[in-house]
């Protein structure tokens, strides 16, 4: 038990009557947990599971919701982000869902959370041992857009034959001079399976490597689970003469001044003037507060 998990968190306590804790029945949760154990045992390998229909639409995080529902305990503190932000509408909706069906405490602070469900980002604040990231995954198959047939891709994974993926990346370089995959950038896990890290920007890929946190991936519509156990080697695919590189931000955050974080572009007037702010709202807020305090102390 780590500090974050053992810490007593205030529960909101109010639960939706007529539903089991965390919505799913215990039998379904057990089925998903069995799938997750298998996923952890074979890092990066996609485990089919009997995905249930959730009261939220497919494509809106039903895979992540099922994973969270099956691992969450009353003592957990949940953070939900979409595009890095806690207050985007779908993050709000999913957080409210768990507050209603599990009565758990939620937080926007990365450090306080024991479970972080996310769509398209990994927080800027480094994750700690004992924390669990739950990724919402639209298309779990990294080879899908090269080879649409599942029968074929299953065979390619079994043989470890990822030639078509390298050809695709090579063609990018020939055509554009760069690998033109900006998000859902394929990674090789533990020297074996090629995995789709979900549509996180490739800026976030290095955070997957040797992370102290457990990373769980759930694809509801496609009914697949996969995982990265803590401290797993995760290598973004590249070539010796075209090494993997992240896209560096070209500006600083207009709120907190960070030049290290992933930025959202805002168009602020009719002439198309642009400003940039952190996509990770919690990180941005903490930094802005710290700056405010520093300024306060200085005066």
């Amino acid at each position: 038990m780590n500090a974050a998990r053992a810490g007593k968190a205030p529960r909101s306590g109010k639960m939706l009557p007529g539903y089991n804790f965390a919505y799913l029945d215990e039998e379904s949760k057990r089925m998903i947990r069995r799938g997750l154990l298998k996923a952890v045992a074979i890092p990066g390998f996609q485990i089919p599971f009997g995905g249930r229909e959730m009261p939220l639409p497919y494509g809106w995080g039903t895979g992540g919701i099922q994973v969270t529902a099956s691992i969450i305990t009353p003592e957990d503190v949940l953070k939900v982000i979409d595009q890095g932000a806690d207050d985007t509408t779908n993050a709000v909706s999913i957080r409210q869902f768990f507050e209603r069906v599990a009565g758990i405490a939620s937080t926007t602070r990365t450090r306080e959370a024991t479970i972080i469900q996310t769509r398209h980002r990994i927080p800027e604040t480094p994750l700690a041992s004992g924390q669990i990231m739950v990724f919402q995954v639209p298309i779990p198959e990294p080879l899908r857009f090269i080879e649409p047939s599942e029968t074929e891709t299953a065979t390619l994974h079994a043989l470890g034959d990822y030639g078509i993926m390298h050809v695709k990346l090579y063609e990018d370089i020939v055509r554009h001079g760069h690998i033109a995959t900006c998000y859902a950038y394929p990674v090789e896990v533990n020297g074996r399976y090629v995995m789709d890290p979900s549509p996180i920007p490739r800026f976030d890929n290095p955070k997957l490597h040797m992370s102290p946190a457990l990373m769980l991936f759930g694809a509801g519509r496609e009914k697949r689970l996969y995982a990265l156990p803590p401290h797993t080697a995760v290598v973004s695919l590249d070539f010796e003469d075209h090494p993997f590189a992240i896209q560096r931000p070209e500006a600083a955050c207009a709120i907190c001044g960070s030049t290290e974080s992933y930025l959202d572009e805002l168009i602020v007037d009719d002439a198309g003037a642009r400003r940039y702010v952190c996509s990770d709202t919690d990180y941005c807020q903490r930094r802005a507060e710290a700056r405010g305090e520093a300024r306060g102390e200085a005066s």
């Binding site: 599971f49 809106w60 207050d87 769509r119």
Partner: protein, 373 residues
Amino acid sequence: MYVAVKGGEKAIRNAHRLLAHKRRGDSARPGLSVAQIREQMFLGVARVMCEGALHDAELAALALKQAAGDTVEAIFLLRAYRATLPRFCASLPLDTGAMRIERRISATYKDIPGGQQLGATFDYTHRLLDFDLLAEQEAPPPPESVPAPTEACPHIMALLAREGLVGQERKAADDESAPDITREPLAFPASRAERLQILARGDEGFLLALAYSTQRGYGRNHPFAGEIRVGKVDVWLEAEELGFCVPAGEIEVSECEMVNQFVGSRKTPPQFTRGYGLVFGSAERKAMVMALVDRALRAGEYGEDASAPAQQEEFVLAHCDSVEAAGFLSHLKLPHYVDFQSELGLVRKLRREQARTGAQEAEKEVAALETAP
């Protein structure tokens, strides 16, 4: 500065209230009752039950009311509810031969044992708007005769099969349990049982288009409507501790058996093939398209060239579910700032590089022109 993404919580709450208000409409008019929908929109209710995969007319009508008549939304509501229900056991296979028939037609024989029965159908109506329905009106006169439900007619297919004219289907072993696609993930190639379950829940519009494509030559399989029957059947359960079977109730179903293109080889004499459709409620269009697509997906079984879209199992089964399809479509409305930003960054960078190399090349050209004699 953060206006664009802040305030989500309040906005969602108000959107829900606005929707509820709009759904109810003018409160000076009486609200639609679920009973009215169930009885007067029974075909819409049947579609929701069928694709929602739950035989409960009351809840399907409620879903239609709550969804303001949006069928796909109503199907989603019913599915989500269905997923929370416990599963006690599987029923015995329905005996549709013992159906209490309300409608039964065969397009392959003029006269059939048990007779043809039109029942309530839009067939043969002239599609003219009935302006009388605009006004409040009295109930229409009752039918001239209400035919007594025909009991236990043999299936036309059974008659053909007796002569060996149509292939026998594989009979499940006694200890073979039915797969459940809502509990177990699907793996390709799927069994026929799994395929039929998915087709029964599949979107009628999508399957109609696929079935139509086979009629127009994309995987043609020469169908004849061998038999379509609509009526009530009993659902029986085997009570293990009692050691005998008990009826759990009756449900309305539509069943379609298509007689298709014959096959044969030097070893097996020529015989017709078949496609099968079975759905909840009065929904024969769905039963028919299901039968056509089922037959199209048996291409491999009969050694046919499976090149048409309707014959490709992964393509058909992975895309026919309206709840999955509509969900994934609607997720495009979710914010994608992060991924868009990363592409925006790359496209700008590529454009800069291109502008630079373009300028260099132009310079070279100018230089070449200047140095030219």
